[in-house]
């Protein structure tokens, strides 16, 4: 489903990206659930894959013209799924969905993810180091903003690498937000499932 090696994020490419992300999450939901079982309440894989299944159906049927439309559809699916991750991802994708109604340049990408991540940080009162999805979102957004390239593929490769590093860094952290914070040092070594899913999100872009 890989689109041409262009410099822009088109609607079609965004669709492919989100579908690849959804496929990955649905296939590997148990991995996320297991992390949430260890450090939270064991429903994260179910929560996120329910939302993305709903999103997938919507996307498969829609002929979204630009990235914003695609992100908005995904946002709606998350907002209809509750939990903690539901509204946070709903907000994240919702802010992306408020981006330009046209193909996005790498600069557009950077701006959109900065804004979206800022909203999540405010709503969740979460900063980098708190062991949440923000630990993967923030470095990815930063990588996109400071990308010294006009190539979509290179930009997202950098974002994926940053998100993965951010997710990995959550192992070793003592959580300050979310359910893992109740367990403190007892789950210090467990990866944050929200952050892992964000890494998967950017990794899915690499193939799109």
């Amino acid at each position: 489903m890989s689109a041409s090696n262009g410099t822009e994020l088109t609607g079609a490419r965004a669709r492919a990206w989100l579908l690849a992300f959804a496929d990955r999450v649905v296939a590997d939901a148990d991995e996320l659930t297991e992390l949430d079982r260890q450090a939270g309440d064991g429903d994260f894989g179910w929560n996120i894959s329910s939302a993305l299944k709903r999103a997938r159906t919507g996307l498969e049927e829609s002929g979204a013209q630009d990235p914003a439309e695609v992100f908005q559809a995904v946002s709606d699916a998350f907002l209809a799924s509750g939990g903690t991750s539901g509204p946070l991802f709903g907000l994240w994708f919702g802010r992306l969905g408020a981006g330009p109604s046209a193909p996005w340049s790498v600069a557009d990408l950077g701006r959109a993810f900065e804004t979206a991540t800022g909203a999540v940080r405010r709503l969740g009162k979460a900063e980098v180091g708190h062991k949440t999805m923000v630990d993967a979102m923030a470095p990815a957004a930063e990588a996109l903003t400071s990308a010294e390239t006009h190539s979509w593929r290179e930009a997202v490769r950098g974002a994926a690498r940053a998100a993965r590093a951010g997710a990995d860094s959550t192992s070793g952290m003592i959580a300050h937000r979310g359910r893992a914070s109740y367990l403190g040092e007892r789950v210090q070594e467990v990866l944050d499932p929200g952050a892992v899913s964000v890494a998967w999100f950017f990794e899915a872009a690499e193939g799109a």
Partner: protein
Amino acid sequence: MSRFFMNERETLVEQALEGLVEAHGGLVDVHTDPLFVTRRVPAAGKTALLSGGGSGHEPLHTGFVGPGMLDAAVPGDVFASPTALQVRAAIRAVDTGEGTVMIVKNYTGDVLNFSIAAELLAETHRVEQVLVDDDLATQSQDEGGPGRRGTAAVVAVEKVCGAAAEAGAPVAEVRALGQDVVARSATLSVAFEACTNPMTGRRSFELEPGEMEFGVGIHGERGIETRPVTEAADLVESLVGPLVESVGAKRGDSVLAIVNGLGATHGLELGVAARETRRVLDGLGVSVARTLVGPYVTSLDMKGLSITLTVLTDDLVKFWDAPVRTPALVW
């Protein structure tokens, strides 16, 4: 390995609610798309009272809808907050112009979704929130952190606020009363066996024989410490002691004790726990004026129990004793 009795996982909560109506159709109605539960006979001219949260804690909250308690309950999926859109729809359904008090257990997901719902209605509805954060095990120094979890004290809050709202108290008063009950309450929980994930059949954590998990919440998460099991008498002392200190109950004070089963705890076990609670409090000169014993705030099939203490005033006793008619609580 255990098995959850259901059809497809996707339909679990909705089908279970059909069963609730099957048993208590005279008391409650279920609305779908979005999903929420209201009284069968709507009340008018009073402060609307609403609560909700993840499912898997039944009879909380859907079992507390009815005269004398909630006007609506908004159930999420198992252990997952309901959506803001569900909450908004429920508020619209029950607010008859006198305003609404939402009782929210302190979990990030619930706080987010209920707050978003209230904001969405800011122009048209007066919506106030009582935040229940009674779980002593999650007391933390972390400024801006999630704070204490909301657990079984929510039953006391819903009962007292329900009685006050029924008696005509305006929104601000109901809210203040609820917040006062929260301030007077604390809960500690212990688990002997974790709950089973409905999907995987796996327990949320494993204990070795002779171990128990101290300070658990109601989502199957581990507690603050794994301890060796002790006899009922010692165990109840280790729960009640910190609670008494936390709520500041002094010799001569009266308390409400909620001895709550977390799911798979048997009536015999809860009976022993209630007896020991009274014994320990007697020893401290604290009078147990009211006791509620049973599985009211469950964590699926977790084997364990929680004890909640609420320091009472004459008014609170009056509201606690006021008539109530819901699927799970009737007097």
